[in-house]
Symmetry: C2
Subunit: 190 residues, 2 copies
DNA sequence: GTCTATACGAAGATAGAC
DNA sequence: GTCTATCTTCGTATAGAC
């Protein structure tokens, strides 16, 4: 059921996650909804969001040991697969919540936590690769923002190109940042 | 009324644009809704989207003659202002539609057209500044994607920092692209 | 645990008076 | 053009049987 809720969330946004839609997709029995989710629809959306955030976070973590390039590659591949498998009908569930109605403070807090969780391994990887703390953090933010933005553009254009373009530009940016840092360090070290 | 619809769209997403909400905010009379918008809610959302897209497109166009740096600066300032004025309650109306329910093919097509309209002056500016066609297009896509993604992050974190960080990294990326192109051209030209 | 039935509210849309 | 009233649909949530 949570799995189905995530799918609907990706495709139709927060408002689209109705109990009916989730029930239809999952084939779960109607009578058991409020047994498993006493909090009703609200709880269902919250659990779907956190489940999706954790799942993607785990994928990022798994690539963390291999360096920033690998993390980003996995992250981009992940979205390309989601876009392709859904024929550009599905986007990022966390973005879906973050652009939804603002009233739900708890949900909103979760999105911030999830984005932070995703960017943390990136930030650390950039630092391990020699970048200064400020640059590493900015680059991590830039990575998440540009990929998430690209996913929106891909859905809008029904094309994988925006995400391909962004991935390429991100690579260039990271390379040039490393190059500049090495240059500065070399001068500083002498 | 359209103006109010844009506001609601930015704050609550597509699903949040109910006739009631727009009426309340605008103070317009209930009886005249279907007089001015025979297409009902659907038409209202469509006109709000296109109005917002044109308004922002016009701002971008106005800065086009001054070069890519100025376009981007205006674009970023625009979002910072929207975020600040709304206390991080408002995001991008076009993104709101693009992550909404997929059924509405016409609305979806409009988002693609609007994103294309916004990136076109950027692409041209990059080309005028010496970048190759491919690079210029990729950079334009990267600019739109990263800024839009940053706006989402800003709302989520209730902070202007993500957008500031992204703006800074974009500058660096563009500078390094220009530098590389000059290097390649110099070698090619000799 | 899961079922059916139903209360309740919100929202879109139409009809007919003014 | 704008008003009020009304119909219909849809979605949440609860009640009570099995």
């Amino acid at each position: 059921m949570i799995h189905s809720a995530v799918e609907v969330l990706r495709e139709r946004g927060v408002a689209g996650v109705t109990i009916d839609a989730v029930l239809t997709r999952s084939g779960a029995p109607r009578g058991s909804v409020y047994h498993h989710f006493p909090g009703g629809r609200t709880q269902l959306v919250a659990e779907a969001l956190n489940f999706a955030g954790d799942a993607i976070g785990a994928i990022v973590d798994r690539a963390a040991a291999d360096g920033s390039t690998e993390i980003l590659q996995r992250f981009v591949e992940l979205w390309q697969k989601i876009l392709r498998d859904s024929d550009f009908a599905a986007g990022c569930p966390v973005v879906a919540v973050a652009v939804g109605p603002t009233g739900d403070e708890e949900l909103f807090g979760s999105t911030a936590a999830i984005f932070a969780r995703w960017s943390e391994p990136l930030r650390r990887a950039f630092e391990n690769e020699g970048l200064h703390a400020d640059d590493a953090e900015q680059l991590a933010t830039m990575s998440i923002a540009s990929v998430e933005g690209a996913v929106v553009l891909c859905r809008s254009q029904r094309s994988r190109k925006p995400l391909d373009d962004v991935a390429r530009q991100l690579e260039l940016l990271i390379e040039s940042q490393k190059f500049l840092t090495r240059g500065r360090s070399a001068r500083t070290d002498k």
